[in-house]
């Protein structure tokens, strides 16, 4: 009497932040087939970038592709357009940009961890992580003036310099956060119920990570050394103490640990940057209109982000193409869902840290 049940997850569901629809065909609660629909958030940003906005504005528009990795989108666009315009930035600008990118990564990872905990029914952990996350949010707010959409990066440099008070706040908060992350690692590794909920659940093997084009923490948790920060030298990551973090099994547990360790690494990088900051200009003057094309790759919190820009010498760009990490992770996600329990599905989904507004744009 194999009987199939279909369980919908979305488009509105408490475990989802964004509208996305999964339709699980289940036997008992074992998922046998997944039907997915990710296009709820499509707004037409790529089109608008070439028709509605001038190239100087596009940086702020693409930030609204996704609120979580907003800075990465702006950053990738800016790097691309700077390449076309042939602008050379100084060390200080690069460092400040990395600082913001890494702060963004910390808060995004923490949010993902909190969401995973919440979706696996661990309210206490959710509250704890969200409480700790406020430390990073404070630094971001102090530096950029906004908590989420900071619009910190602009073509030719950054919009704001970092003040001494900010620096002091950042140092204390990061040191505090570092301790809290250590604590979190302990909590995630030693809890009986989280072990049941995370270990060997939603595992993506090393081979599958390649087959399904896994990116970011997802791939690194499976042991695949895929990280744009290590491959590309467009930003001086090596100088600030970047270290590749790899997991083994690729299950939720490993993904959580990889994220936590990356947070530690990011904290280290931020501290290095803050202690090594030099005086200097934060904005490079530039002239002319973009003409030509460029490709940019950048590591967003979720994995590689890819920008293709094509400009024809006018104020309007000819083509903006954005490829986001979640988009390429969906086949892998579907594969993992098959054979796991519906009870685990929200946690698996959260541990993928999907970003549907990135995907649908």
């Amino acid at each position: 009497m194999k009987k199939t049940i279909t369980i919908p997850l979305g488009s509105q569901h408490i475990s989802l932040l964004e509208p996305v629809r999964f339709n699980f065909s289940c036997e008992n609660e074992k998922i046998t087939d997944v039907d997915y629909n990710v296009g709820f958030v499509h707004r037409g940003i790529e089109k608008a970038c070439t028709e509605k906005f001038e190239y100087k504005q596009v940086g702020y528009v693409v930030a609204r592709v996704c609120g979580l990795c907003a800075i990465t989108h702006t950053m990738a666009y800016t790097l691309g357009i700077e390449h076309i315009l042939n602008i050379k930035t100084n060390k200080k600008i690069d460092y400040l940009r990395i600082l913001m990118l890494e702060l963004d990564r910390i808060h995004s990872h923490l949010l993902c961890l909190a969401h995973t905990a919440e979706n696996s029914g661990f309210e206490g952990m959710f509250m704890k992580i969200m409480g700790d996350r406020e430390l990073v949010m404070d630094i971001q707010e102090a530096i950029s003036g906004n908590r989420v959409q900071f619009d910190f990066v602009c073509i030719g440099g950054v919009n704001r310099d970092i003040s001494t008070e900010c620096e002091k706040l950042a140092f204390t908060n990061l040191a505090l956060l570092d301790k809290k992350v250590d604590d979190l690692i302990g909590k995630f590794t030693s809890n009986w119920s989280t072990a049941l909920k995370y270990k060997n659940i939603g595992a993506l093997s090393y081979d599958d990570a390649f087959n399904f084009n896994a990116l970011g923490p997802l791939a690194r948790a499976a042991g695949a050394a895929i990280d744009v920060r290590a491959e590309s030298s467009i930003l001086p990551y090596k100088e600030v103490g970047y270290k590749m973090i790899l997991g083994q099994n690729g299950d939720i547990y490993d993904r959580n640990l990889v994220r936590l360790k990356e947070i530690k690494n990011s904290i280290l990088m931020c501290q290095n940057i803050l202690s090594g900051l030099t005086e200097g200009e934060i904005l490079v003057k530039f002239k002319g209109k973009p003409n030509g094309e460029s490709f940019t790759r950048l590591e967003a919190p979720r994995g590689e982000i890819f920008y293709y820009l094509n400009a024809n010498g006018t104020n309007m760009l000819q083509r903006v193409r954005i490829k986001t990490p979640t988009f390429s992770q969906i086949p892998g996600m579907v594969e993992i869902f098959k054979g796991s329990d519906y009870a685990d599905a929200p946690a698996i989904l959260a541990s993928f840290d999907p970003c549907m507004s990135c995907t649908a744009k």
Binding site: M1, K2, K3, T4, I5, T6, I7, P8, L9, G10, S11, Q12, H13, R21, N23, S25, E27, N28, E29
Partner: protein, 524 residues
């Protein structure tokens, strides 16, 4: 004279079984019939009358006769209506009904026989009538299952005959009233009687005959499962339980309780409505045997309660199954979806019948409740009864799961929108009659036991008002809104959990056989 007639007909019967064996080319039946013939001849030759009467109508017999005649009678009346829907020639339908009545008569005689040889005769007659009834539809599967039933029941008959011969061989009485007064009665002979009871009661590993019986028209299943046939098992155990030694009584209880748990578990994995009912029957039968085997005054009363209320509930449920089959063309529980909207009275009747098997304030529940109380007393003196408790509490919970798993399907209104149909009153009349009968008996029970009265009044009132409000309140003045489906309009497939215990069935069987062997060994 009576003795001669019974002996004569018994020979004829055994010869008929032999013929059936030849007809169906079943060598096992022929051998069994032959052995039985020889043993029977031996018994007849060695048999001498003692002073005891051949038939005794004692309290237990009256009790059984009430069940057989009231419940069985209701089923037989229901059978008349049922046969109108059956696709068979007129004369066959009539024969079928006659079989049903004869069956009831045989049962009446079986429960009053005091002479084990007479009892053997009626025992074999029930075998015969169940064989004929199962064979009624005369297709391949009916024949196969009928033969299987015949074969297994003949093994039971053989056990009974062995017991008789052992008794005669050791110059013991074969009159039941003498046996149960004689404390030094040899247990080996008695254990054969118990084994015969087990086979009639479809204990593992002999449950296949009762499960196969559902190919017959539903009144047969109703009759076999509720009032007749299988009830011989707890009846026999009840008769003999006063002379069980401690070990035997405990082992039978353990076996019964284990099977109670196992059958409930196995029933969870089944799909056909009648099959699930059958599993719940043998599960509860095992419980009855277990309770009966304890052999004290309390356990005797509890066993009677179980037998009585189980017979009524199961009869109602099987009659409903028959209606489902004939009127709504539903056999599998998956097709039962949406019955609540299609035929509300019938669905509610099924639902309430499920409640009568598992929930307060109904009879079977009280039997279980008294049993828990009694077990709590027992365990104080004998810690071994902890195993009984474990199997019992887990098994009962699983039965609740089993019933309400099906209930879920009645209620959900999803994929199969059934066409509304109204069950004719004449079809459900017997069910209603039995239902009223049960309510009256519960009221009687409650008035005799004062400590449960308040409890049952509260919950009885709740139940009644619930049923009434389900019919009365429609909340038409309130706004109705659609269900929550994540903001979408479409609702997916809805279903319940299924359980698959097939892979464990093997191990259950081993344990059951092991317990049988231990039981046999201890009795020697």
């Amino acid at each position: 004279m009576v003795h001669f007639l019974i002996g004569f007909f018994d020979f004829v019967l055994l010869l008929y079984f032999m013929k059936v064996g030849f007809d169906f080319k079943n060598i096992k039946i022929q051998i069994l019939a032959l052995i039985q013939l020889i043993l029977f001849a031996f018994a007849e030759l060695n048999f001498t009358h003692s002073g005891s009467p051949d038939f005794i109508i004692d309290e237990l017999a009256i009790f059984m006769m009430i069940i057989i005649n009231i419940v069985g009678g209701a089923i037989a009346l229901y059978g008349i209506k049922y046969m109108l829907y059956e696709d068979a020639p007129k004369y066959k339908k009539d024969i079928f009904l006659v079989y049903l009545w004869i069956f009831l008569v045989i049962m009446n005689f079986a429960v009053i026989s005091n002479n084990l040889l007479y009892f053997f005769f009626f025992f074999e007659l029930t075998t015969l009538s169940s064989f004929l009834l199962i064979k009624f539809r005369n297709d391949d599967i009916s024949n196969k299952n009928a033969i299987n039933a015949l074969l297994l029941n003949m093994i039971g008959g053989l056990f009974l005959l062995i017991a008789v011969c052992l008794n005669l061989f050791t110059n013991h009485s074969i009159y039941i009233n003498e046996i149960i007064q004689n404390k030094d009665y040899i247990s080996a002979a008695m254990i054969f009687v118990v084994f015969a009871a087990f086979i009639k009661g479809a204990m593992k590993p002999f449950e296949s005959w009762l499960l196969g019986a559902m190919v017959a028209p539903t009144p047969v299943s109703a009759l076999l499962h509720s009032a007749t046939m299988v009830k011989i098992a707890p009846f026999l155990v009840l008769k003999f339980s006063p002379v069980f030694s401690y070990e035997i009584s405990f082992l039978i209880t353990l076996l019964g309780m284990f099977l109670f748990f196992i059958f409930a578990l196995e029933g969870l994995g089944k799909n056909s409505f009648k099959e699930i009912l059958a599993y719940s029957t043998i599960s509860l039968l095992s419980l009855m045997i277990a309770v009966a085997a304890i052999g004290t005054k309390e356990s005797y009363e509890i066993a009677l309660l179980l037998i009585f209320f189980h017979a009524i509930s199961k009869a109602i449920l099987f009659m409903c199954a028959g209606i489902l089959e004939k009127l709504h063309h539903i056999k599998s529980i998956d097709d039962m979806q949406g019955l609540m909207s299609a035929d509300k009275p019938l669905a509610l009747l099924i639902l309430v019948s499920f409640a009568t098997v598992a929930l307060p304030p109904f009879g079977l529940f009280f039997a279980k409740l008294f049993f828990v109380e009694y077990l709590a007393k027992l365990i104080q003196t004998d810690i071994l009864y902890i195993f009984i408790i474990l199997f019992f509490v887990v098994g009962s919970s699983i039965l609740v799961l089993l019933y309400f798993k099906i209930a879920s399907l009645l209620l959900s209104t999803n994929n199969h929108q059934q066409t509304p149909a109204k069950t004719p009153l004449s079809f459900v009349a017997s069910s209603y009659f039995l239902f009223v009968f049960m309510i009256l008996s519960i009221i009687y029970l409650v008035t005799t036991k004062s400590d449960i009265s308040i409890f049952s009044i509260i919950f009885g009132a709740l139940f009644v008002s619930l049923i009434v409000s389900l019919f009365v309140f429609k909340f038409n003045n309130l706004q109705k809104i659609s269900v929550y489906a994540c903001g979408e309009n479409t609702i997916g497939q809805i279903g319940q959990f299924y359980f698959d215990f097939e892979k464990y069935a093997k191990y259950f069987l081993y344990v059951a056989i092991f317990l049988w062997l231990v039981l046999f060994g201890v009795s020697l």
